[in-house]
Symmetry: C2
Subunit: 236 residues, 2 copies
DNA sequence: TCTACAATTATTGTTAACAATTTTTGCAAA
DNA sequence: TTTGCAAAAATTGTTAACAATAATTGTAGA
């Protein structure tokens, strides 16, 4: 009987459907292993099956959804190797983001970054877990968007959402992932124009995040198969 | 009257259709601006329209195809800004590939790389342009695959194919893009275990490739709209 | 002769119905 | 009680027909 969420909103475009599901996965409202039944999604979005299917295809292509022929679509459950690869690749890409900021100038972007960090501190103080998760990823995305490289931003968008899946699986304790202080250190270095330090800070920040994970014990117990779709897919 | 290529091969899966179109774009048989009419593709692949459409959706998501609502799908024509972004991002990613090789060990992979370079020299000697284009991209992909980071390899696959579009638009003279000698220099550094040198060589190689382009004069004259689909999509 | 408007044509967007496959459920036998 | 098999139900895969939109072509008027 969990939230049906059958908002009859005026004809969502299929890109909006994609974005909504994407967001729900990236913000961990749809945990790894969740079944994404086409018919149910039709009800929720008030769309016909082919449109839903197209959205799922895109998510599959992104690697966020795992599609098993004649079985259906599931939110991807990353393996240990994939988890390590995500963080390694993030380090490569986010060092590049700092390079781009150096090239393009960062002084005029500091205000937006500090505003964001203030928001993170607020969420942390309030203990609003969902918001913390969302903002942690958003900080890295904000950096990438400010770096004026649409390609890097796109790539990082993918990687950040995959990181969410990784932490959902390998970090049962949801404590202090991606703290505001480490983000602040990166911004401080950028403010000082010290891009080498910023790059190092970013790199260590990501290594620290990886270290927090339990990448040995595969705790794949939390594959709850309730009907969480309705509650999870409300428009954030 | 150009080659119909109506091979009635046994039921291609949609992934195969996607791969075939992808390959044709990446190997420059379908130049930027080419119209990809759904009905024509149906004939060529012997598939129904929805299947074709799914393949085109994926390509659109990749950025290789530009989809205009109610107008159709076209091979993307990159802008100058996008061209610069592609090469900047490649430098970021391919430096990461060298890092991955350093981490993972490269000695056991040298043979494959040298075999590849020998092939490149052969193609160059024969003046086989199509093969040169294919092998140039394949070298970078080979490196990424040997680096044991599936994510980096996936990302680079995208970037290499986009590079092809960029060079198609901004390098009218098809001469000496991505020469075997520069590739050989990278491999030599890897063989010596000198990964810093390899990284620098890679970085300069990509900068050199970017310099070859004419990124001011937008020579978008070659948007030929003949029916090249039939000849271009033969299975490579 | 050129321009603007209208009708036609062509192409994409959408939906609904059908076919194939898999999982589950029920029953019987060991 | 458990295991194996068979039938039914549920879900995905595919196709075909229909609707809507945009481009083109032809015609009439200036």
């Amino acid at each position: 009987m969990g939230g049906d969420k059958q908002l009859p909103e005026t004809k969502l475009t299929e890109k909006q459907i994609y974005e909504r599901i994407w967001k729900s996965i990236a913000e961990r409202r749809l945990p790894p292993g969740t079944r994404l039944k086409e018919e149910r999604l039709c009800e929720i979005f008030g769309a016909s099956r082919p449109r839903i299917r197209r959205a799922l295809d895109q998510l599959t292509h992104d690697g966020l959804v795992c599609h098993i022929p004649n079985r259906g679509a599931f939110v991807t459950t990353p393996s240990v190797d994939e988890a390590r690869d995500v963080f390694f690749t993030r380090r490569v890409v986010e060092r590049g983001v700092i390079d781009a900021l150096k090239k393009h100038g960062a002084q005029d972007k500091l205000a937006a970054l500090e505003t964001h960090i203030a928001e993170e501190r607020e969420a942390l103080a309030e203990g609003d877990t969902a918001r913390i998760i969302r903002l942690s990823g958003a900080f890295h995305m904000l950096l990438a968007e400010l770096a004026a490289s649409p390609l890097l931003a796109d790539i990082l968008r993918d990687l950040v959402s995959k990181s969410t899946l990784v932490t959902a699986v390998f970090q049962p304790k949801c404590d202090t992932q991606c703290g505001p202080d480490e983000h602040a250190a990166i911004v401080a270095a950028l403010a000082a124009g010290d891009f080498d330090t910023a790059k190092t800070a970013m790199d260590e920040h990501l290594q620290e995040a990886e270290r927090t994970l339990k990448l040995e014990a595969s705790s794949e117990g939390n594959v709850l198969q309730d009907d969480v779709l309705g509650t999870a897919l409300s428009e954030g």
